[in-house]
């Protein structure tokens, strides 16, 4: 199959579709028997405009729900439209009718399509009180026509599918990007449009210690345009061997300040948001939900829980990066492993993978003094070595770069990577999903956006 065009992030309304929902939608409407469907979607503010977040797919059954059209070739039957728009109204979600056209990199609505929208969507908008509209897709392109409750009409700037390669579908491919002499060598691999993609992205790093400081260094040098830096801790002497670009004069300074200074040194044009708070604080979450990607490099179950919630409720992909060095009280070293876990909306989550412990989460949510008291046993610092952190961070950023510029061979490979450096093994681990998960399924918070509560 031809490689999809690389489209840098566009400004305006976007629609994000979780990979599993996209697979079902494209199978249904792009298959040999072209059919129709409706997406129900939450709403959120995004880094470049309002975001529609596909939460559920309603497939139109051929013959009953998708019938010969009165004006067009085929039509969603009025009873199907009615029932779907009632659900949109009752659940406070956008109604997006979807169908496919032939073609590859270009797609648009026909006059018949647009006439149908003009005939019907003002009434559907009155019924639901929510955004209503239509999506037309090919394998490589998507166009959308949105009717807002206040009477305005907007085109969809892009449709995003955060799968193995993060797809950004437009009605036509983006024009060639501007050559960037600073990044000439890496743009020879990533392409000018790939480099432009990085420049327009807003990426969060949660936890700015040993792993997080490497992530910031690499993301800034790659040319990521905006970084959201979240950590409430200050630098200690024992951090220095692992904290990139830190010095003794930094002891006692906020890790966000040190990371920001380093990011600016790496890329003077980078835009920085420094949040010296824990991730569950409202000011942290407000920034987190408006990112394109999140790197989770913080210890603790609270950080995992809040980032996991953001991924699922706001459809923001994330990579969790960690290093585990097991050590017995006698000093014996166990199987060291590093993990880079891809956390994608609707494809299994950290709760489903048993990576959040409810008891430890409860303890982690208490104020610092109470957290320490609840541990009972005095804490012993875990071993930490910069080379192990580098292994995990490099894997995570490589995956991210390849994903956003479309360089992964396998689009549907969502596996995590586990390195075991003592035995020199590198294994892939598939995500796991509980069918009734309250976070990553349509029966839970998936795609609810601002309609769901925040904090979660």
């Amino acid at each position: 199959m031809a490689r999809r065009p690389v489209n840098p992030p566009a400004t305006g309304w976007s629609l994000t579709i979780p990979p599993k929902i996209w697979d079902r939608l494209s199978d249904h409407v792009l298959g040999s028997a072209a059919r129709g469907a409706v997406l129900l979607a939450g709403l959120a503010d995004g880094p470049r405009g309002p975001r529609l977040l596909a939460r559920e797919l309603i497939l139109a059954d051929e013959g009953r729900d998708y019938i010969p059209g009165e004006f067009g070739h085929r039509a969603l039957a009025p009873t199907f439209v009615r029932d779907a728009v009632i659900r949109a109204r009752d659940e406070g979600l956008a109604y997006i009718a979807a169908h496919a056209h032939l073609g590859l990199d270009h797609v648009g609505f026909s006059e018949i399509d647009l006439a149908s929208h003009e005939r019907g969507y003002p009434s559907l908008s009155q019924i639901s009180g929510q955004v209503v509209g239509a999506l037309v897709i090919t394998d490589h392109a998507a166009a959308g026509d949105l009717w807002l409750p206040d009477g305005r009409r907007e085109e969809l700037a892009e449709t995003i599918i955060p799968t193995g390669n993060l797809l950004r579908l437009r009605s036509q491919p983006a024009e060639e990007g501007r050559p960037d002499s600073l990044h000439d060598r890496q743009a020879r691999l990533l392409g000018d449009l790939g480099q432009e993609t990085l420049r327009r992205l807003r990426v969060a790093v949660v936890g700015l210690g040993g792993v997080g400081s490497i992530l910031v260094e690499e993301l800034a040098r790659l040319g990521v345009g905006e970084l959201v830096l979240i950590d409430d801790e200050t630098v200690e002497e024992t951090n220095l061997p692992r904290l990139v670009a830190s010095g003794r004069e930094d002891i006692g300074r906020l890790k966000t300040e040190v990371a920001a200074r380093n990011a600016r040194r790496a890329n003077p044009d980078v835009r920085l948001i420094e949040i010296a708070r824990r991730v569950e604080r409202p000011e942290s979450l407000e920034e987190l939900v408006r990112c394109d990607w999140i790197f989770l490099a913080a210890d603790g179950d609270a950080a995992r829980h809040w980032v996991n919630g953001t991924v699922q409720q706001y459809l923001v992909p994330a990579t969790q990066v960690g290093v585990k060095v097991p050590l017995t009280p006698q000093g014996d070293v166990g199987q060291i492993h590093t993990a880079t876990r891809l956390v994608l909306p609707g494809s299994g989550c950290l709760w489903c993978s048993r990576l959040i412990d409810p008891t430890r989460l409860a303890v982690d949510m208490h104020p610092a003094g109470e957290r320490d008291a609840a541990q009972y046993v005095p804490g012993v610092p875990a071993p930490s070595v910069i080379t192990l952190n580098t292994l995990a961070a490099g894997e995570a950023v490589n995956h991210f770069v390849f994903a956003v510029v479309g360089l992964h061979d396998e689009e549907n490979d969502h596996a995590s990577v586990i390195h075991r450096p003592r035995t020199r093994q590198r294994d892939l681990q598939e995500p796991r999903q509980d069918p009734t998960c309250r976070w990553c399924t349509s029966t839970g918070r998936l795609g609810l956006g601002r309609k769901g509560s925040t904090p979660f």
Partner: protein, 92 residues
């Protein structure tokens, strides 16, 4: 209370009383308690709703479900009764 669809013809003794119902969440005043599906849509159009007579009309029943009302179907309406009028969504 369920409102039965009355398919009998209007009688001379019938009293004409206007009734205000909801069509697509908007108030629509009907000229009579007994109207056809087509008359409901025509009244809604004349009162500015963005629909046309080709739309499919449904009435909300007491159990919360909607039933289609045909153009020639006579229905006895009551104040605040809720209707939806939607078109098919034509694709090229």
């Amino acid at each position: 209370m369920e409102t039965p669809i009355d398919t009998t013809a209007k009688t001379d003794a019938h009293q004409h009383v206007s009734v205000t119902v909801k069509v697509n969440n908007q108030d629509v005043t009907l000229p009579d308690r007994e109207v056809t599906g087509l008359e409901i849509k025509q009244a809604a159009i004349s009162q500015g709703l963005p629909i046309d007579v080709g739309f499919q009309l449904s009435v909300k029943r007491s159990h919360g479900r909607y039933e289609v009302v045909d153009d020639d179907e006579l229905i006895r309406v009551h104040t605040h009764q809720e209707f939806l009028a939607v078109p098919p969504d034509d694709n090229s």
